[in-house]
Symmetry: C2
Subunit: 363 residues, 2 copies
């Protein structure tokens, strides 16, 4: 039996052990072909069937309406920071788009979008170092806009949108990389919803894009073919060789998710995992949660200790107890525990037990 | 023991069995971390070391000069069809670039480049349906050009450049997807050399780009960050989460290649594999080779049979003998046997034995 830790990495993140074991078992021989899934043509009937199955599983898991297309695109969510404006900002003559600045990845999306149009920051949590979800400036919503972009969960700071803004006719575009499949989302509220795969979906190097069909055909002429949503939709994501291994892993993860009861059942477990951990943080003054309680993420729990020395000791001792990758992002410091779908409740309990013991020894 | 075929797929293609078995064995626990290589941060010291090792192995394998950078970029070679002009065509005020049209992928590269500048076809084999490498029009080489792009080996038609053109001060840019690491290439002859990973390097969804340092800093302002060579060079390809599994597989393939004696030793085996198969094709009139003999590829061997019925019987019976994925591309038809590094000599012998027996039964 392989040695396995409780892996709290923010992404690439741990995957369900059942998925990992299945991928390992069939790695040399996929469906009796005598070749691996990574060694067959993306145009083989076996791989095309795999894409169809992945579509069907995702459509079921997220209750994706019929007028939405599912795309598997190269490059992770960060490539979408350019693809979104290239595909959508030309919808309005002013090339104006609204963005919510809620942290690191939102900021990267904004910087990239500025290459392509007039970007208006409709909400920002920068003044409080992204410890909450900000209010939206009503003035920003006046006047035309190609879309409104937000990051549904902020991996780095540990905040999330609980209620999504009503943007009227302006399509809402969400980077849902760190909470897709972790809670029910009403896809029909979004014009485009995208997510890099390496947290809740599978392995890195691909992103899933859900797009309402009427938004498909607005790309700037200079959009690279492999950043154009219309291209992916037309070719069923097989324009060139996709990241076949990642798509295969997404299919395995979706099968596993269905067997767990789907997104709603997973959300119950996720909220319980987060509740237990935040309760432990708040129990005494020894640990200090970072995000404002009303905006806390269930995917990424951020907290700190009172001194850098204590923090380092915490991380070192946690690692010795097989609690892996708890170090916070360098921009914020502290501790970050990422509790994606694959993290079992027992992993959170093990972390809490460690936190109790650590406080007893050092409190 | 897993059932394994001789896999002649053009890409994604077979990988060395030793590589596949090692990846399988350590899939659940990478370097004793208790997590898979696909479950750890791309910014972990273990993954950064993996990228460094991959760089060193590739630099050794291809004798890459010190003034070239190695980039691992998202999206396969086809994404480079846009990235090359976005990064380089602005080098000259006329935004003029030269392209050799030698088949399917060259044609796609040309179509994509036309979004970004004035594309001049300096050589074309279209008139003979790409059965050879064309002569270069000397007139095209007069006047300024940002670069000269060619496809070093044409996967679909089975031709390759044996001698690369002398383009003087104009940087030569090569898509070497289907022959990288299969024969010695003098990297210093190229300004940029790129290759999708899924034939001779590893698994799909990533491309390797070798670029001379003086060409790094010419990208158009509207270049998406993740298509900008300067970004990848600055961040050691870790700007966002890369396709970590593919990079890992590339490292394993490069270790295997070194153990085989490197590219020169591999080239000897590859030339022998191709010689035997072409000799078999030419032995009687039963099989008809497609490419002109002087321009035949050692990576992709294309031939046909005299009737569609005979072709179909050939493919069906071959598959029953575990000779997999021999069907030619739909644009050309016939048979295509791809003989990348991972295809052992015994696989080619098995194919030849089958071809002998098939001719005896049907000739």
């Amino acid at each position: 039996m392989a040695h396995r830790v409780y892996n709290f990495a923010p992404g690439p993140a741990m995957l369900p052990i059942a998925v990992m074991e299945r991928a390992q078992a069939e790695f040399l021989d996929f469906q009796g072909l005598g070749a691996s899934v990574v060694e067959i043509s993306h145009r083989s009937k076996e791989f095309e069937a795999l894409v169809d199955e992945t579509d069907a599983l995702l459509r079921e898991a997220m209750t994706i309406p019929a007028n939405y297309r599912i795309l598997y695109v190269h490059g992770g969510a960060s490539m979408q920071f350019a693809a979104v404006p290239l595909n959508l900002i030309g919808r309005v003559p002013s090339r104006r788009a609204l963005y919510a600045d809620t942290g690191n990845f939102a900021g990267r999306a904004i910087a990239e979008a500025r290459r392509y149009g007039e970007i208006c920051i409709a909400a920002s949590s920068a003044a409080t170092n992204h410890d909450r979800i900000p209010e939206i400036d009503p003035a920003a919503l006046e006047g035309e806009a190609a879309y409104f972009h937000l990051t549904s969960n902020n991996t780095l700071y540990g905040t999330r949108w609980n209620d999504f803004p009503d943007t009227g006719e302006v399509p809402l575009v969400a980077d849902a990389t760190s909470d897709i499949l972790s809670r029910t989302l009403d896809v029909s509220r979004f014009g485009v919803l995208y997510a890099g795969a390496q947290k809740n979906l599978g392995t890195s190097g691909v992103a899933v894009v859900l797009i309402r069909e009427d938004l498909l055909d607005h790309a700037d002429p200079q959009t690279p073919n492999l950043l154009n949503y219309e291209t992916y939709a037309r070719d069923h994501s097989l324009t060139n060789t996709p990241n076949t291994f990642s798509i295969y892993m997404i299919r395995l993860v979706l099968e596993w998710l269905a067997a767990q009861g789907g997104v709603a059942a997973m959300q119950c477990v996720n909220e319980e995992k987060a509740r237990l951990l935040y309760e432990r943080i708040d129990r005494s003054g020894f640990y200090a949660g970072y995000a404002q309680p009303a905006h806390r993420s269930a995917s990424n729990v951020t907290f700190n200790l009172t001194t850098p020395e204590l923090l380092q000791r915490f991380l070192d001792e946690a690692l010795r107890e097989d609690l892996y990758a708890l170090k916070g992002h360098r921009a914020l410091g502290g501790v970050r525990a990422s509790l994606y779908n694959a993290m079992p409740l027992e992993g959170v309990r093990a972390l809490i037990d460690f936190m109790d013991a650590f406080e007893q020894r050092n409190g």
